[in-house]
Subunit: 382 residues, 4 copies
């Protein structure tokens, strides 16, 4: 597929995700980690305008200089930005304004992509596609949060189809002690945090071919797991008690029966599905209660061809740190990953909300240890 087609396809998928929304759903920000959908669709557009059109497309007229202030996310290099907690306070630009902005930039991009594209710009374009795919996932998780925290529990889309999960034999996969190669190599796109490919030494270990299910997690809840400090990190125990956490996000105990909110609305819990929307603290506590542990990201990657993955991001025991020889790109693009490499945990795999083809075996996702609004689950190791 050529770049113009790729561009079109990526951009269209973003709009398809927003198709079921009401105008009001685009606007709100019920918690700091969630951004209003209209912000997402403006921000990914701003990315192409700022990093492609303005520097490389001669004669391009900026749509609106104030939008730089509104749609910058965290790029300090590119000037001031609306504080993240304030995104939900902005009624303007309206949704129609932002779709106009989107259309204006798309038309300019179509013109630009007819011309000669240097390798440097090609790289930026592919980064822009991957960036927009990341925001597609955030759109889906943020929409879930917005609707799932509304007292009316509206459905996102009744036609949404959640992926099937096949039951697999529960035996653990055995892996030998020795040196393994970790990190991306070869053709195709990867993020800077997947480089450089390097050797790690792993002790012998075993890893489960399955994710932990809701049924299994219910045993932890029912045995009092949320009330026994022994399973928790000290910081996790504080988190549980301060926030009075009793179950995964989106779970509701109604008349003695567990329900959870999904894209169809509030539903009786399907106990055969992988447990999802849990924090790292909960993943660790569950593993500890089981007498097992989470895999490191290296153990995960070394074994990843031996099990299926993709239903839920999987918390690993590894902190998000640079690989040997990691170097930030110069300029604003260099702010993409490196500056988040502290106090976060690596997640591997992908979730049902991840854009098709976006993830890969070497892909490193990362979040703080208390966050739950992503589709996050548990794979065990020992």
């Amino acid at each position: 597929m050529d770049l113009a087609d790729c561009y079109k396809k990526v951009r269209q998928r973003t709009e398809q995700i927003c198709w079921p929304l009401q105008t009001e759903d685009y606007v709100v920000q019920p918690v700091v980690d969630v951004s209003p959908p209209k912000w997402h669709i403006g921000h990914v557009t701003w990315f192409f305008e700022t990093f492609i059109l303005k520097p490389y497309f001669m004669g391009y007229q900026e749509f609106n200089p104030n939008y730089n202030y509104v749609f910058n996310s965290y790029y300090e290099t590119v000037g001031n930005r609306v504080i993240r907690t304030d995104r939900g306070n902005l009624s303007r630009p309206t949704v129609i304004d932002i779709y106009s902005y989107r259309k204006y930039v798309d038309e300019a991009m179509q013109g630009f992509l007819c011309g000669q594209i240097s390798d440097e710009v090609k790289e930026l374009l592919i980064l822009g596609f991957n960036h927009e795919e990341q925001h597609q996932e955030l759109l889906l998780t943020d929409i879930k949060y917005i609707l799932g925290h509304n007292p009316l529990f509206p459905a996102y889309s009744t036609s949404y189809v959640s992926p099937k999960v096949d039951a697999v034999d529960a035996g653990f996969i055995k892996m030998d002690e020795g040196i393994y190669e970790i990190g991306f190599e070869g053709e195709g796109f990867c993020f800077d945090n997947e480089l450089n490919r390097h050797k790690v030494y792993l002790n012998a270990y075993e890893i489960s071919p399955n994710l932990v299910t809701n049924a299994q997690y219910l045993e932890f809840i029912n045995s009092g797991g949320y009330h026994d400090f022994r399973h928790w990190h000290a910081e996790g125990w504080d988190w549980v008690n301060t926030n009075k956490v009793e179950a995964p996000l989106y779970w509701h105990l109604i008349d003695g029966e567990w329900h959870n909110y999904n894209y169809h609305g509030l539903q009786v819990l399907n106990i055969n599905e992988p447990v999802c929307h849990i924090s790292y603290f909960e993943a660790y506590a569950y593993a500890s209660w089981k007498g097992l542990r989470l895999p490191t990201e290296f153990e995960w990657e070394a074994a990843a061809t031996k099990f299926s993955w993709g239903k839920a991001w999987e918390w690993t025991e590894s902190s998000y740190l640079p690989y040997p020889g990691f170097a930030k790109a110069p300029g604003a693009i260099g702010e993409y990953n490196g500056k988040f490499m502290v106090n976060q945990k690596v997640l591997r795999g992908a979730s049902e909300a991840t854009s098709p083809g976006h993830s890969r075996v070497t892909y490193r996702n990362f979040f703080q240890t208390n966050l739950r609004w992503q589709f996050t689950g548990i794979r065990l190791a020992r």
Copy 2:
């Protein structure tokens, strides 16, 4: 005018105020004191449904039982309510949903008002009209806050006309020592907090026929008033320093020239207008800097026929307390005023945002000492 006409007129005015809004403007809540416009238009509707239709209109079918949860403001008697800070997190019900709710209730009310209306219900209806007028003012001030805190500073309406203020001779009005009668008496509606009419003894005093202007307030700013603790209450001084307050709300110093945001957008400051959008702390500090003081609410009421008022709510020195013999009504209506009678100051007069005919000489408005998003100004006494 009969009750059905009154109802129609009040309800239409609310919708006229919202006419210039975009859908997104109805949704956001940039600060806790401000409510999303869609919440206001739902809440005033819920008031008629809850206090008139459900108890008094036989056979009335509630529009949606969940709306009771969403649109209750602070009536503990009537069940749970959305926490005030969360109102801006709700994308549903949508604006169209709420206008449908409004239409449904209006049609039921029209039916109801064709029938025989008891005196008890008539009283509730008139309370409902006055309640909706209060929310009309809040709609205007909340819209101003929403648009005036947007980085694009959009105008609310270019056809909005601000009332003229006539220059008046600056001599103070002299009032004699003695007993004055305070509080409402006679025909017509008043709030419970205006009762009972009672005697107060006032020392001789003088009161200004004019409000303090922007030009006069600028002298206070330019002489360093915001940086001299001697003019401020201890609590006001903390407030100034914690919030780094340097000028009234909506004022912006741009290239050395003062601007303020009004319903037309961001404009050069009109120095002849009354100063507006200041807290009680600022009103007190200004008066103290002048070597004067604010009037008490009794001094204001006793002299109110001798000056014109209505351009901006006027902070008084009086705390908001019950009049002798004040009694709360039984049930939810009793929560209307009495439970706010602590740690608030009385404001007298009216503002350009007040619904026509809503206020009167005995009317008691009240807010906390740090609030500024209402149209609030200064009249001096000595």
Copy 3:
């Protein structure tokens, strides 16, 4: 008694209050409203040094210039000060250092008081004595808080004798409608906030000759008073729920029996004593539950010769506001009272911790509506 004797007597009483303390008890600040005892004994000394010795005693050598920073309370005129919340973080100057400072200033004062004293200085001296008496009460209440919040519940002094309260017939005292004179007049000392004496007009009212007892207050608790929003101000209701308040300060329910901490340690509750250590919110709620109300400060003062008072400061319905013609003194002394005249309630009477002879019928004490660490109780009116 001459000024030198007065000085000596006031200063000695402060030291007698501290006699039972351990060194460690002088240091801590378990909550922002409480100051460490060593701070109090330094601060009252600093007051005489700063306002008497430095300006009026020629050749006086300041003890230590840094102490100005440490022991200033809230006088902005006199320079920087340790933030109130930080007082409990200071291990130096030590208790011995501060007693040395005290002795040094006392000796200088003795020298100074041998000389000629102008009327202006005499006024300052008497203010200093009254100021120290106010801090004597704070010492007693702060010591109670420090020891009463220690998990070991140590006694302050087993020889401490609490004043007796005589049972009085419960009929209310009737007071006629009319004009009353309020405020201080005559010989002797008063604070600026008791001036000027002026007329107020009061409706007919009745006031109780007794304070509400623990037994009576227990009825309120046992009837669910802390769980019924109807008795509370909206702000009081928030306060109750945020702080999970279930009883007066220092009350502990141990094995089904109410105890409270007093200067002898943790004791079984004496139900015949006046209820004490309650906030204004609680006083109001109790009165509201009874179908009665609190008196205004004017009603209290007009009737004060007809009942006995002095066991506990009595919350009134009146906000702390200036009397007609109130004027702040120039300079630092002017910061004494006026700048606190916002968002506080007046208390009348005196408590068992008040220095003998310190209070009077026109005396105006004042605190925020949520505070409970003073000896504060309830007298009812209707």
Copy 4:
């Protein structure tokens, strides 16, 4: 040395550290991370009473059952505890009480140590010695914080001698790529977090034989390092701006000259000393500004015999995580290390405050990324 001698020596060193303190210095807690010295000397005593005397010394009479509540630090297994932020609010038990407690336990321990000691108890004893040595370091750093944040800047001890640091040639030490063995092995004590010894694969790297000096760090400050977001993690950048950090802890710019507080009082900065009292965020930013990086804990350990260390704990790039095969001990002792293995960074080496002989090449210290009150410095790698 036999166990009884070891016990005596460790206990005496704790008391020697406290020798220069005033009673008041034992009491305060100016920030949550710092504990009052009297708490430390009670807590280490409680450790021997709780884990040795009560379970293993027949007939032992507990000194005071309430002390369990007061001196427990974070052992959830052993019951309730005073919340960490409240330690500075406790005036009782007094310093004399706690020294009596200490003496009582020491005498019991001397009796106990005359008897037969099982291997299990011997292990606990040695853990107790190492535990007390850790608190000796905390005593020194907490005392520094208490006195160094007092506005009088008192000296701790004028006879305190700070260790010399020899200037070393600045060339980096080269280390080969390959497999290295990491973790403790052999005779003698180690903490559970140093186990198990295991293989890691390291790329070739270079590491500095010296710590970064104050002179070198001043270049970073003077070149605007604290004001350039490019050197910082996003979370570090927030930390710098929220806390307005401009220099290491204890640094003061007085009349244009840098001073820092040390155990002798406030002194002119010695620019040849290693920079100290910086957070991980600052260490990372400095390294980034230099175009270098911090070593991982594995790189540090593999090279540690080739440079001298011990002047200041050295931040590493490694997160604090369990080694392969790490297992928590059962019971309260199992809470020692494992539950802190999240969102902290490993520090290697030792500081001038570390007890002699306490640290070793495999020792793993750990703190949150924003903390600075320990003696923490920078060694660079590339």
